[in-house]
């Protein structure tokens, strides 16, 4: 306590110095007078009295000095002095300081931002109760239902028979749904969950309650939970919403609760309960539902143990239902940690980015080190003068370190601001399902700043140590700026430059590969003309009494209305819009040679005019027409890719396709072949695809209407929405032009490319600055030598060549290192590349040439400047 009190008082003693000094002077003076008076009383003469008193007192100034040291905190005062001096240096050399601060700021800011995202997405546990035991259960299909899905009946059997899970819950969706309340319809994402889904995660409603077990029964499940977002935007955050009836796709639901905004998984705006006693969860019934499954493993159960447990149950189902769509060998269960599942798409991208910013931070540190080294070497004389004036070695080092620290702190402050902005930008990287918000991580920021400060300090320390060791008289005698040069500094600088060039070449090559990918993706042949096409997706839930016979009139009526809209050239509908994801399944092909099975073929139920609306060319045979009714003989069309796979060079028209359905396999005749169309991921080659008239569909469908207009369909969306609602007023449609869709689907590639290019550019600029700085400095130091060379008859060009050759030989080491490094590292990019190899020779060459050219300029400019100095002047300076 006493020490703290004393410390605070001393801290206070740093201020009001003048008043305290006056106070002390008065006290000393009064004490001296007291002493003199005593002496006088003792009988001394006035002069003796005064002399004796002063003698006895000792040095007045040294007493004051000792007093001042006690009054304030001398260390702190010296620090303040050093900091003031550092700022004076900054003002004196603003360019130098700006480069260092910017470099450190960029390095620290970018690194922290990426670290923060990585931390949130990859490292931090999910914000659920005991997240380490939460797993995602999927089935490994030999057919492509898409990732992560589980057949509904399998799930119900697992739920009742498993011995590995404490809880195992499911959801499906989100599905675009129209929410109608008080007459207005909006499109929302509806997700269906089993009743205990949220309690398993440990998520509690902020209003009302979650589902009860009873609400998982058919007929009792017309209840709904709202998301906080929808509750606030659509219902004004009204707490009396509980018990209100809202309409989802025309059916009435009672609102029972509101979930907190932190619920991001499963995605959705509204949640309804799944009723497991629905026939869709019964093996052997048609149709069945497909669900996503999440479970909480029992304590001590491993993923593989749980997998084998679930697989046993699937075998049992197979034995019971011989006719089951997929045999259990084709759908074995797979259990992975929920966290790993959620980040699977961004994991490698994030790790690559982490590596990249790590490189940038290292380059930044190397550069700052280089600059500080160069400058400190040039300040040998300044250090010598300080030493001559009595500065101790420790004091010199401390001052030098303080200067570095001030620069590092300014850089960190800048980095913090930059990092805040950058984290906002990087939010796009976070997968939708990750239920946590990203903010700049203070620990990570401390880490990045720590590295930067460490680099700065080390590089501030080296010259300070060297300079403080030099003998004062020698340095002052030789007087030139080259004094205090330390032999190792030159080597160290060269190594740093090599290091920078190596790293920046790797980044340049990586960025080059991504740019190539993007360019190639941008002119992928889509298979049709995407301009002036508008798509409107509507959703009809499978469960809501929307059956096969009633859907066809709905589609037909809407298409008829769409065709009459002004500017519309053609209109059609299909379950799969062009460029959207593909729902595939196994089919069989029967031709003269016999029957063979294809595992994964996209299936698309379409209206007769679908191809005319999309603009896909007919290659042979015929399109569907009005005669292909549900009662007519089943027909299909196939795309070129399927024709190639199924029939080779033969004409496939007239062959038959076997499709699984309610009553076993239906055989349909191939009547036409059309051109290929790309899927949602543009980089994928078109997949084999089969087209079926929707009139002959056996299952309820949700479709996307496709409208081709003669002009840019800007005014159309409203008309289309009206046309749909004129037929069914509860139908919300999500409308998009195909061009928008294409932009959106290349968004991620663009984002990656921009991000990596930005870092590569940054690294490139930093590295070139590094070479330039080192060359300028070393040339500056050799002005004298060059002047002598020129004076005794050397050609200027040969002098320049000499310098450039030395600089370039350093660069060459870096380039070689960079090529090797890139050869080793670019393969990590391969999953992001389209139509370009990770070791693409053109990209490598281009990057090497670019860096070589820039290095050459960075060497040539200082060399020319130095050689153009008049030798007489250069020599006279000495």
């Amino acid at each position: 306590m006493r020490h703290i009190r004393a410390f605070l008082l001393r801290l206070g003693g740093l201020f009001h110095k003048e008043r305290h000094d006056r106070d002390l002077a008065e006290e000393i003076e009064s004490n001296l007078q007291l002493h003199i008076e005593d002496n006088l009383r003792a009988g001394m003469s006035p002069e003796d009295a005064r002399r004796e008193a002063l003698l006895k007192f000792g040095g007045v100034e040294s007493a004051k000095e000792a007093y001042r040291d006690r009054r304030g905190l001398p260390l702190l005062e010296a620090l303040a002095q050093d900091i003031r001096y550092a700022f004076r240096q900054i003002v004196k050399y603003p360019g130098f300081a700006a480069i260092i601060v910017l470099t450190l700021g960029l390095g620290a800011g970018a690194t922290t931002a990426i670290f923060s995202v990585v931390n949130t997405v990859l490292l931090r546990p999910l914000p659920y109760r005991d997240p380490s035991r939460l797993v995602r259960v999927t089935q490994r299909y030999s057919l492509s239902l898409g990732p992560g899905f589980v057949l509904g009946p399998d799930y119900r059997a697992w739920r009742h028979e498993n011995s590995s899970f404490e809880e195992i819950e499911a959801f499906y969706g989100p599905a675009d749904t129209s929410l109608a309340s008080k007459g207005a319809a909006t499109a929302v994402r509806a997700t269906s969950v089993t009743t205990r889904f949220f309690s398993m995660l440990g998520v509690n409603p902020i209003l009302g309650r979650s589902f009860t077990d009873a609400e998982g029964a058919e007929g009792r499940n017309q209840v709904v939970l709202l998301s906080e977002g929808i509750w606030r935007t659509q219902f004004g955050g009204d707490p009396s919403i509980l018990g209100t009836i809202i309409h989802l796709n025309g059916s009435a639901y009672t609102v029972v609760g509101v979930l907190p905004g932190s619920v991001r998984y499963p995605e959705g705006d509204v949640w309804t309960p799944i009723s497991l006693d629905s026939p869709m969860f019964t093996a052997g019934s048609r149709p069945i539902v497909i669900v996503n499954v999440i479970g909480r493993l029992k304590e001590g159960i491993t993923n593989s143990k749980a997998e084998s447990d679930l697989n046993v149950i699937e075998h049992r189902i197979d034995n019971q239902w011989q006719q089951w769509v997929v045999q259990s060998r084709d759908r074995s269960a797979q259990v992975i940690a929920l966290n790993a599942f959620l980040v699977r798409n961004v994991r490698s991208l994030l790790l690559i980015l982490l590596g990249v910013v790590g490189f940038v931070l290292l380059i930044a540190c190397a550069n700052v080190s280089n600059l500080l080294l160069s400058r400190a070497t040039g300040r040998g004389r300044e250090f010598a003068i300080r030493a001559a004036l009595g500065a101790g070695r420790i004091r010199l080092i401390r001052q030098s370190l303080t200067e570095s620290l001030v620069l590092a702190s300014l850089g960190s402050a800048l980095g913090f601001l930059g990092g805040l902005w950058f984290v906002g930008f990087l939010k796009q990287l976070i997968p939708a399902g990750i239920p946590s918000s990203v903010r700049l991580d203070p620990v990570m920021f401390g880490f990045a700043v720590g590295i930067a400060i460490f680099a700065t300090l080390v590089c501030g320390l080296v010259p300070a140590l060297v300079a403080s060791r030099t003998t004062v008289s020698e340095d002052l005698k030789s007087g030139g700026p080259q004094t205090g040069t330390w032999g190792g500094a030159r080597l160290l600088r060269n190594v740093l430059v090599i290091f920078e060039i190596t790293l920046s070449l790797i980044l340049l090559i990586g960025a080059g590969l991504l740019v190539q990918t993007f360019v190639r993706l941008s002119d992928v042949r889509l298979g049709f003309d995407s301009h002036n096409i508008l798509t409107a997706k509507v959703f009809r839930p499978m469960t809501n009494g929307f059956n096969t016979p009633s859907q066809v009139p709905f589609f037909d009526q809407v298409i008829d209305r769409l065709k009459t809209l002004p500017g519309v050239v053609a209109a059609g509908a299909g379950t799969r819009a062009p460029l959207s994801s593909c729902n595939g399944g196994p089919i069989s092909i029967r031709d003269a040679s016999g029957e063979h099975r294809l595992d994964s073929v996209c299936q698309n139920w379409i209206s007769p005019d679908y191809f005319r609306a999309v603009g896909v060319p007919l290659l042979s045979g015929r399109f569907f027409d009005a005669n292909d009714k549900s009662t007519a003989p089943p027909v299909v069309m196939i795309n070129q890719a399927l024709a190639h796979v199924a029939s080779g060079d033969q004409d496939p028209i007239g062959h038959e396709v076997g499709l699984g359905g309610l009553k076993g396999i239906t055989w349909a005749k191939i009547v036409g072949v059309v051109g290929d169309v790309r899927n949602n991921t543009l980089e994928q080659e078109p997949s084999p695809e089969i087209y079926i008239p929707y009139t002959q569909a056996l299952l309820p469908l949700s479709v996307t209407f496709v409208v081709r207009a003669s002009l840019n369909p800007l005014s159309l969306p409203n008309e289309v929405r009206k046309a749909v609602q004129a037929v069914d007023k509860y139908q919300a449609s999500s409308i998009q032009t195909l061009d928008e869709f294409i932009t959106a689907s290349t968004e991620m590639q663009r984002f990656r490319m921009v991000l990596l290019s930005f870092f590569a550019l940054l690294a490139f600029v930093l590295a070139i600055l590094g070479i330039f700085g080192v060359m300028s400095f070393s040339v500056g130091q050799r002005t004298h030598e060059m002047a002598v060379r020129v004076a005794i008859g050397a050609q200027r060009s040969s002098v320049i060549w000499l310098v450039v050759r030395q600089g370039m030989s350093v660069a060459a080491f870096g380039l070689a290192g960079g090529i090797l490094g890139a050869l080793g590292l670019t393969r990590f990019l391969s999953s992001f590349l389209y139509d370009v190899k990770p070791t693409d020779i053109v990209t490598f060459l281009a990057a090497v040439l670019l860096l070589t050219g820039a290095s050459f300029v960075a060497c040539y400019l200082p060399a020319r400047r130095a050689s153009s100095v008049d030798p007489v002047k250069a020599l006279r300076v000495e």
Binding site: N31, H35, E37
Partner: protein, 114 residues
């Protein structure tokens, strides 16, 4: 700051506190004089040490200071013992006695050691 000074400062602090306890409020010169007299002029109090010591004790709250007027009408800064100072003095004195007693035993002629 080496060890010797530390010891000296420690004892000086004790002497200052003790002086103020005996005499009451006193100025720096008086304190120095009194210590020198009490030591039988064996000690010489350096003002370069005394002023910082007074400041330290004041910062620690053991003594307080105010400007006053001396017997012969001269303005001087007077120091007085605070309650905390009183306690500290007792504590330090006890410690010091203990130390001297122990030291005395060590330094006593060897015959008296048991």
């Amino acid at each position: 700051m080496n060890k010797k000074t530390d010891v000296w400062q420690g004892t000086l602090a004790l002497m200052v506190l003790r002086t103020l306890e005996t005499i009451g409020p006193l100025h720096g010169y008086g304190i120095a004089r009194r210590i020198e007299q009490t030591s039988g002029d064996a000690l010489l109090v350096n003002y370069g040490t005394l002023y910082p010591m007074l400041l330290k004790l004041e910062q620690e709250g053991y003594i307080a200071s105010e400007w006053g007027v001396s017997d012969n009408n001269r303005k001087a800064k007077y120091y007085r013992l605070t309650r905390a100072g009183q306690k500290q003095l007792e504590k330090a004195a006890r410690q010091w006695e203990q130390t001297t007693e122990i030291m005395a035993r060590f330094l006593a002629p060897s015959g008296r050691r048991s």
